[in-house]
């Protein structure tokens, strides 16, 4: 049915379609991709009555504006932001009804970076290797949203949650990332290990879906050779030649040649996705 579609009125700085990604193809050079804050994706989906894995929109700092062709339930979660429906203020973090042709305005993030907009029925673009996620490293999945684009929707499978609100973790004022040293911590000096754990790092504005870049202290290498390419994992703390650690997020390359000093616990990466540029970062070795 033609009214099961969304019209993009304002795409925002970077809005992409995301679900839980396409793990399992790393050996072919395919990144896992998927929502950077999977907890927000699952909760937004549940609020509109979708299974937790349905495809939603992931916005970046500046939100987006969407006009659904038919009446439906939506929920905006993740980074807190003002929400308006048909010009009237509406709830953030709860199911909201949007009438056919009404404008849904997802405002700029008040705190945090990425808001998630779930639609009853889910976004139904063509899956690639089992996922609808946009992968910005390799270009798989739908292109980032553009003004005027039309996205198909699936059929709702369940009723919206009967809640007025739900608990969301707030974006971090300090990003605490628990790490386990290795696999290549022996490529760094003892001082570099202390530097990593001592704090003083901040989130760089050059961060993106591929990695959270840091500003601040550089890590000193003990081994100066070239590392032959090896497999990379989500949360890997890779150290490029400038010595400033980069934490790999969902669109990270599957292999790489810079040494990985430590790996962040997967659970802590959703907060990394919501840490705005300038946020202090503390790496805490997990023993």
């Amino acid at each position: 049915m033609t009214d099961r579609a969304l019209v993009v009125v304002r795409a925002g700085a970077l809005t992409t379609v995301q679900d839980l990604g396409r793990p399992g193809h790393a050996h072919l050079g395919v990144p896992r991709s998927g929502a950077l804050d999977p907890y927000a994706l699952r909760l937004a989906n549940r609020l509109v009555g979708n299974p937790g894995h349905e495809a939603v929109l992931e916005t970046t700092l500046t939100g987006c504006e969407i006009r659904p062709r038919g009446e439906l339930t939506v929920a905006v979660g993740g980074a807190p932001c003002p929400v308006r429906v048909g010009g009237r203020p509406a709830a953030w973090g709860a199911p909201v009804r949007v009438a056919a042709g009404e404008l849904l305005e997802v405002g700029a993030a008040v705190r945090g970076v990425r808001s998630y907009v779930a639609f009853a029925g889910g976004i139904a673009t063509e899956p690639v290797l089992g996922s609808r996620s946009t992968d910005l490293l390799s270009g798989l999945g739908p292109a980032p949203l553009a003004d005027g684009a039309v996205l198909p929707l699936g059929r709702p499978t369940g009723p919206a949650a009967r809640v007025d609100g739900s608990p969301w973790p707030g974006p971090p004022s300090e990003l605490v990332l628990r790490v386990r040293f290795g696999p290549r911590d022996d490529w760094f000096t003892e001082g570099a290990r202390r530097t990593l754990a001592a704090g003083g790092h901040r989130v760089s504005a050059a961060s993106n879906r591929i990695g959270l870049r840091t500003e601040g202290p550089a890590l000193e290498r003990a081994v100066h050779g070239e590392l032959p390419s090896e497999g990379m994992v989500l949360g890997a703390v890779q150290v490029p030649p400038d010595g400033r650690p980069v934490v790999f997020l969902a669109d990270h390359p599957t292999t790489g040649g810079y040494p990985v000093v430590a790996v962040v616990r997967e659970h802590d990466l959703a907060a990394a996705a919501q840490a705005a540029p300038g946020t202090p970062v503390r790496f805490v070795p997990d023993r």
């Binding site: 793990p23 072919l28 050079g29 390419s229 090896e230 497999g231 994992v233 890997a236 599957t254």
Partner: protein, 208 residues
């Protein structure tokens, strides 16, 4: 064999050579096919390592792995993927000079070799193929190209690769193929996967 911890749920196995990494990768696939490998989400071979990601009990697997008997990679056996190629790349003369052969000699050497997909990376479907000896190693270009056309057959170090789509790249381009390396609508999407055997077949008009 060195076992390196990678976070909570992964393990990096470092081997002495690319050949040994290929042999362990083949053994892992064999055990997975038999159903005797504990569940692993990703098995990612690379230059000298195999990464096992999404492992429930990485410590237990790390204890077991050194006790495995891993047969060395056997030459021959199994199907060979043939890639038709026109040896017409812009860096052909430079490679010929480095190899100390004629331009026709590059095609002769390259098409006589049997290659193995050591690993994939850089882009979906981009395979790092081994099969040329150290004497045929070439450096990357000093200035990478901003756009290498899809289907370019290229060399870097002792690796051969085929660009699945147009992208920036610093490899030396020796030829062109019309083979489709990557097509997400096809099953399997990637023409080449780790462990596959490959030959390049010279032809005037490289057909599909």
């Amino acid at each position: 064999m060195r076992l390196l911890p990678v976070g909570e749920g992964a393990l990096l196995v470092e081997l002495g050579s690319g050949e040994e990494a290929g042999a362990l990768h083949a053994e892992l696939l064999r055990r997975r096919a038999e159903g005797t490998l504990p569940p692993v989400r990703e098995i990612v071979p690379a230059a000298r390592t195999v990464l096992l990601d999404g492992v429930e009990e990485p410590d237990r697997l790390a204890d077991e792995l050194p006790r495995w008997s891993v047969p060395p990679l056997a030459p021959g056996g199994g199907a060979v993927t043939e890639i038709p190629v026109r040896y017409d790349g812009p860096d052909l003369a430079e490679v010929a000079a480095l190899w100390k052969v004629s331009v026709a000699g590059v095609a002769a050497v390259h098409s006589a070799a049997e290659f193995r997909v050591a690993f994939c990376g850089f882009a979906p479907g981009f395979a790092y193929l081994t099969g040329l000896g150290e004497e045929f190693a070439v450096p990357r270009r000093v200035t990478p190209r901003t756009a290498v056309p899809a289907g370019s057959v290229a060399l870097a170090g002792t690796y051969t690769g085929v660009y699945p789509r147009s992208s920036p790249g610093g490899w030396q381009l020796i030829g062109t193929t019309d083979a489709v390396l990557w097509d997400p609508a096809r099953e399997p999407a990637s023409l080449l996967s780790p462990g596959a055997r490959v030959r390049f077949v010279p032809c005037a008009e490289a057909g599909r």
